[in-house]
């Protein structure tokens, strides 16, 4: 799974510009599944068909987009940018970036160096005060870059210590890697469910990919995989979850109670560690979207804890991914379906 995650983390796919990462997924899965396609909005949809008695279909879904930036203006030979998705603007200074212009261009995010500033000006620069420098003169910059070109941070996946790894876009390539690994490992299994692995676009903005793919597939139920916050320096267990305790199983208004209970029971039966993640309102994930698609789709949410979310140095523990995979495969083998309650008052 580490190798899968490495490939996916290194691929580029800011929201709205996901072609690169969807091609990587497509190549990785095309020999491993019964059908795979890229739909008209850009979702990648892979299918492993049921064998024997077919009970229906399930959609396992993870978003493939990442947060990024976009070119908005020029200031001489410097490039101004806006963010795609939620960033802490303090982390930009000194980051290496890649701009997808007429060619792939490497640059650095700059700001006026502090030794040129008076003390009272030494504050967090706003986005307007930051710029990207690709070392070219104004004429060349305008030849290769145009307004609207996507930008992402130039970093590569790396193992820190054993099963603890770092990289960009682990939100949510971590979940993409879990679904890829599941599809590869159930290739020859006889399952009662058609299993759709759906990699959605634009979760970080509007959840467009989740709404459209769920509407197209209309599965009997859906399991959304996303990330949650892990404990780290300055982030305690009052608002995050420790590493290596398994996936989080979410509960709350966005989540189907029956699915929640069955997932929890499956984990217990198979002695898979898990934690419960109460989400009192909107989950801020594709689960919020899928629950209300068409006439409603029973939806569950599993989460992998990651540290430093929405930075280029996200960190996670591989065990949490492996246990998420085990839980889902066990669930696909054992789950009997969601029954809609009908009360016939004339009976």
């Amino acid at each position: 799974m580490k190798e899968i995650l490495e490939k996916l983390s290194n691929a580029a796919g800011p929201s709205g510009f996901e072609e690169n990462v969807s091609s990587v997924l497509f190549e990785m899965l095309k020999e491993k599944v019964d059908e795979i396609k890229k739909d008209k909005v850009g979702n990648v949809i892979a299918l492993k068909k049921a064998k024997g008695e077919r009970k229906g279909s399930v959609m396992l879904t993870a978003h493939l987009d990442e947060i990024g930036m976009i070119v908005t203006a020029f200031d001489g030979s410097y490039i101004k940018f806006e963010t795609l998705g939620g960033w802490d603007n303090r982390i930009f200074i000194g980051q290496k970036v890649i701009i997808f212009g007429k060619k792939v261009l490497k640059g650095v995010v700059g700001a006026i160096p502090p030794h040129y500033l008076r003390d009272k000006e030494k504050k967090v620069p706003s986005l307007e005060e930051l710029f990207i420098d690709i070392g070219m003169n104004e004429k060349d910059v305008k030849k290769y870059v145009r307004i609207g070109d996507p930008i992402y941070i130039d970093t590569t996946f790396k193992v820190l210590n054993g099963d603890i790894v770092t990289g960009k876009a682990l939100d949510n390539r971590a979940s993409c890697a879990v679904i890829c690994s599941i599809l590869m490992n159930i290739k020859n299994e006889e399952l009662k469910w058609d299993v759709y692995g759906v990699f959605t676009i634009q979760e970080e903005s509007t959840s467009l990919g989740a709404y459209t793919s769920a509407f197209k597939i209309k599965p009997d139920f859906a399991i959304v995989l996303d990330v949650t916050h892990a404990t780290s320096f300055g982030v305690g267990e009052d608002r995050a979850y420790p590493f290596n305790k398994g996936p989080g199983i979410a509960i709350g208004p966005n989540i189907h109670n029956g699915l929640f209970n069955e997932l929890k029971e499956t984990a217990k039966r198979n002695e898979i560690p898990y934690f419960i993640e109460p989400i009192p309102g909107q989950t801020g994930t594709d689960a919020s979207a899928i629950q209300v698609v068409d006439e409603g789709i029973p939806t569950a949410l599993l989460s992998v804890p990651i540290r430093y979310m929405h930075t280029p140095t996200e960190v996670l523990h591989m065990n949490d991914l492996k246990r998420t995979e085990r839980l889902i495969i066990s669930f696909l083998r054992e789950f009997d379906g969601v029954k809609e309650e009908v009360i016939d008052v004339h009976k």
Binding site: G86, R90, Y116, M136, S232, G234, M309, V315
Partner: protein
Amino acid sequence: MFINELSNINGVSGNEDEVRKFIIDKLKKLVDKFEIDSMGNLYAFKKGKKSGKKIMLAAHMDEVGFMVTGIEQSGDIRFRPVGGIEPLTCLSKRVIIGKNKISGVIGVKATHLNTIEEEKSVPKFESLRIDAGFSSKEEASSKVNLGDYIAFDTEYYEENGICTGKGFDDRAGCSILMDIAGMDFPYDTYLTFTVQEEVGLRGARIAGNRVFPDICIVVEGTGAGDFPSKRDIGSYPSLGSGPVITLLDRSLIVQKKLVDFLLNVAKDNRIPYQFKRPNIGATDAGRIHISKTGVPSMVLAVPVRYIHSPCCIMLKRDYNNTLKLIEKGIERIEEVI
């Protein structure tokens, strides 16, 4: 040009060993003798065509970085800067720790968990930690020691003459000294690679006394100031405008006859040049020129954007012009000694 290899080597002030080793390895066939003093300054000596006078060329091997100052029960690593680094440039960057080259990240908690006030405040080093994936103090202590040096984890990259990487201040200078090691010097010459420039020009103080040359040229990678127009902070030195000549900085006033000499050499060889913004920064020349009874010293530098950050930008064109100006200057150094 050795800037690629030199940039990728870690050599934070006080820990320049690997840089020195690399330079010795590459220069051993080109020079007559190496000396290393008690602080670690490296002197590559080359016999000149004539003796009686001595030339010193100096560049510093060290770069800014950090040091491990503590290990938490959680396994997180406390650290402090070595040399001048702003905390803002450190957020969410990858680093390499110690001789075992342990990878870590300077983590910044998710934006979702921050208040607006937090995101408007500049953090202090005391509030930052390095996460190297250790789960306990015991585990971290088995691989990381107090006092280990930490460098930014940045790989050199070059395309179309645009160079990006860490530590161009002053590996650019080291690389230029290495590039000219093969030339025939008019007088005995000491190519001097100093230590601890970034923590107070420490190595240069004893190097100047040891060599005590008749003339010294300090070669630097200096901060460019050509930033977007809206902020009126001036626009020089700028990338692409050639070697940067220092008139005066916080540590040195260059003799007018030496400045004139550099300008003449530049003009005679059609080499572009520019001046450093006065009164900013200090270099090893500030120490060397007050060695013993005094050493006439000048400073030439390659303009570099974003020095003291994880990623600098420099143009090969500026590097080559700086190299050429120094070569041509040395050929006629007799005019000023």
